[in-house]
Structures are given as C-alpha cells and as structure tokens.
Amino acid sequence: MVDSQEGRPGPSTPGAMEELARDPSSRKRFFKLMGGAGAAGAFSIFLAACGDDDEDKGAATTGTAQKKQSGGGDVEIVNYALTLEYVEADFYMAVGASGLFKGKDLELIKTIGDHERQHVDALTAAVEKLGGTPATKPETKFPLDSASSVLDLAATVENLGAAAYLGQAGRIQNKEVLAAALSIHTVEARHAAILNTLIKKSPTPDGAFAKPASMDEVLPKVKPFLVS
C-alpha cells in the first residue's frame, strides 16, 4: 500500500472561481467545459441559474424532493463526481510516483492524472457556483504491487468512472452542469478505452451500449481506496 497524500499539491484552490475570473487560460478551459461556442453567454446563464441553494441534504436522497430542490440534488451529484475525481487524481499521482512505470506508459499515466486534476478543479468550481460546499479531498490508499496489476486497476477505475457519470446524467437538473458532466463523461470513457486496449481487453466491453452504474453500485467499489 502506498499512501498518496505525501507531496501531493492541493488540486483545488479556495478561490477557483476568482482564478477563473483572472486567468484567461483556465477561463477558456471552463468555457470549453460549459459548452464551447457561445459559452460566455451560457456562463452568465449558469451564474444566474445558480443563485439559489437549498441546503436540504436529507431530502436530496428522494426523487421528488430532488425535483423541488434541484440545487441540493445537483450539488450532491457534482460532489459525488468530485470525490471520484479526487480518488482518480490521487491514484495516478501515487502510480506516477511508484517507479513502476517509465517511458510511454508513464507519460500516459501523467496525462490521465492531469485530466483528472482538471476535472477536480472544474467540479470544485461548479459546486461553488451552485452555492454548495465542495466535498473535501478524501485520504486515499491504493495497492501498487506490480505494473500489470496497476494497469488492471486503472482500467477498472476508469470503466467504473465512466459508468458512474452515465448513471447520473438523467438526474442532473441544471443544463450547464449536465453539459459539463457529459464533457467529462466522454473523457473518462476515452481513458477507459485506452487502458482496456493497453491490457488487451476490448475498448467496448459492454458492446454497443454502455451500462450506467448508480451511486449505490459505485461507492462500495471506491471504499477500499479510502482511508477511514
């Protein structure tokens, strides 16, 4: 087991949106996340739409309450995605530092890890704009025994991540949040396909239609990687 906490830079600064307001490159990234062309307009709609927040976490678990309190529902979903991205980002950080990989494989791990960190930043900003409090970064642990077992685990994690996003798509109320989730969902799918190919598995293990996974299915699979 390797504890990935050491030396890990904080992926989300408290002022992520302030940074967006100042930094043209991260603003550009955020606009791209929020829908590409015309995204500047969408951004202001997004800000306007996120004015209200209902802090009713108890009710967020029931469908009817969620419809009434879309702020709470979306915050819960985005924080769930944020937690998964924290775990993924930590995983690749730990793998990169493990010394198990070099060359092209190490480059791939660094690239995917960088994507996951960008997802963390974007989702943190999204929660803040929804008026919620971003989930705190969990402490993580991963079995890093061999290069082949790590690649197997990476493929499992990415396929699970893609299924997790797909499982939430129909539950998201805010269209801008949905657009952002979709934009991340397909990147997780790309990661999954790359890693499946690397371990000689089909890039499309579900066939022509990807299967979703619910929170109840995903969270127990993530739990072994969390230090409780």
Binding site: V187, R190, A193, I194, A208, F209
Partner: protein, 206 residues
C-alpha cells in the same frame, strides 16, 4: 425555397441553437448545393424538415443520421487488415446497433425515423481510413455532447449517454491505432448541430 414549399411550414419558426430551423437546414443545404448541385440537395432538405416533430424527435433523427454515416463508413471501408480490420468490423456493427436503437426511439416518440442518406467516402489506404475515422468519431462525440442537454425525455437522454460513451471509446481506440493520443484534452468539446452538419456535409451525396 420559400416557406410555403416546406413540408411543415410551422417548423420554420422553431428555434435551434440561436437560429431558426429553416435557416439552420437551408444554410447547410446551400453550402452542400455549392458542392453537389441543388438537385442533389433538395431531397435531403425536404426530408430533414418533413421528419421533424421538433424537440427530441429532431435530435434523435440528427443522431440517427450520424450513425447511418458511421455505419456506412466502416462497412464500405476496403483494404484493411489485422487489428484495424477487426476494429472496423466491431465498431461498424456497434454503429449499426445504434441505428436500430435510434430508429426505434424515434418511433417510440411518435416520429418518423430519418431515411438513410446516400454517402460517399474517399477511398485510400489504412492511414487515410484511420485519419477519417478519427475525425468522424471525435465529431460524433461532440455532436452528442452538444445535443444532449436539449433532450427533454430522461429515457432518451439515458440512451444518448449510453451511445456517446461508446462513441468516445471508439474515438480513443481509433486514435490509439492512428498513433494519436486517445484523450487529447481533459474535456470533450460540444458541437452545435450546424457545426456537425458542416463537418459531415462532404460525405452526404443526397
């Protein structure tokens, strides 16, 4: 073409992504007409307008047309062998399943599925095949990602999500085979319908 010639004139006023339905279709058609001649384009336009029940039917028919295109692309590819031939066969079969699913979805919504257009793809070597496959799959991903937030039916949205994940997996695998990064950026782009139509127009003959 005047509005009175449209199969469903009321659709001309329907807003699509900041433009109207008629300008959206006609603008693409005019550009296509410049390439293939107006005669080749008219059936495509009248069909596109006639098929639409608006909203979800229109979006699903748009997706259906892209899946027709991808299926045809993989199935008419020649000169492939080894791993690339295997991918083309597997992905072509999956695109055909998407065609069936989306046709069924349009019917379930009470609409008429778009007819399969006639396509023409440039023939070349494996490298040319992979290059075009990469463009088509990346475009497919962005097309779904752009259209999906406008979908009203949760069921249709779930289907679109399930399909776009496969398109993304195709895109990554094809990119890998092509020696390109499977996931070039942390966020996939969303394209609007017009941008997608502009991209695929060269391959639609009628």
């Amino acid at each position: 073409m005047s509005k009175s010639n449209l199969a469903a004139p009321e659709l001309a006023a329907v807003e699509i992504q900041g433009t109207t339905r008629s300008t959206f279709i006609l603008r693409g058609a005019v550009a296509a007409g410049a390439v293939y001649g107006a005669g080749a384009v008219t059936p495509f336009v009248t069909q596109a307008l006639a098929q639409s029940g608006g909203g979800d039917v229109e979006i699903v028919n748009f997706a259906l047309t892209l899946e027709y295109l991808e299926t045809d692309f993989y199935r008419t590819a020649t000169g492939l062998d080894g791993d690339v031939a295997k991918l083309a066969k597997e992905f072509g079969d999956q695109e055909a399943e998407h065609v069936d699913a989306l046709s069924a979805a349009v019917k379930k919504l009470g609409g008429t599925p778009a007819k399969k257009p006639t396509f023409a793809f440039p023939k070349g070597n494996v490298k040319a095949f992979l290059k075009l496959a990469q463009t088509l799959e990346d475009t497919g991903v962005s097309a779904y990602n752009g259209a999906a937030p406008a979908i009203q039916s949760t069921e249709i949205l779930a289907a679109a999500g399930s399909i776009v994940q496969i398109e993304a997996r195709h895109a990554a695998a094809i990119r890998n085979a092509n020696g390109a990064p499977g996931a070039p950026e942390a966020f996939d782009k969303a394209l609007q319908m017009q941008q997608v139509l502009d991209a695929v127009k060269p391959f639609i003959k009628a």
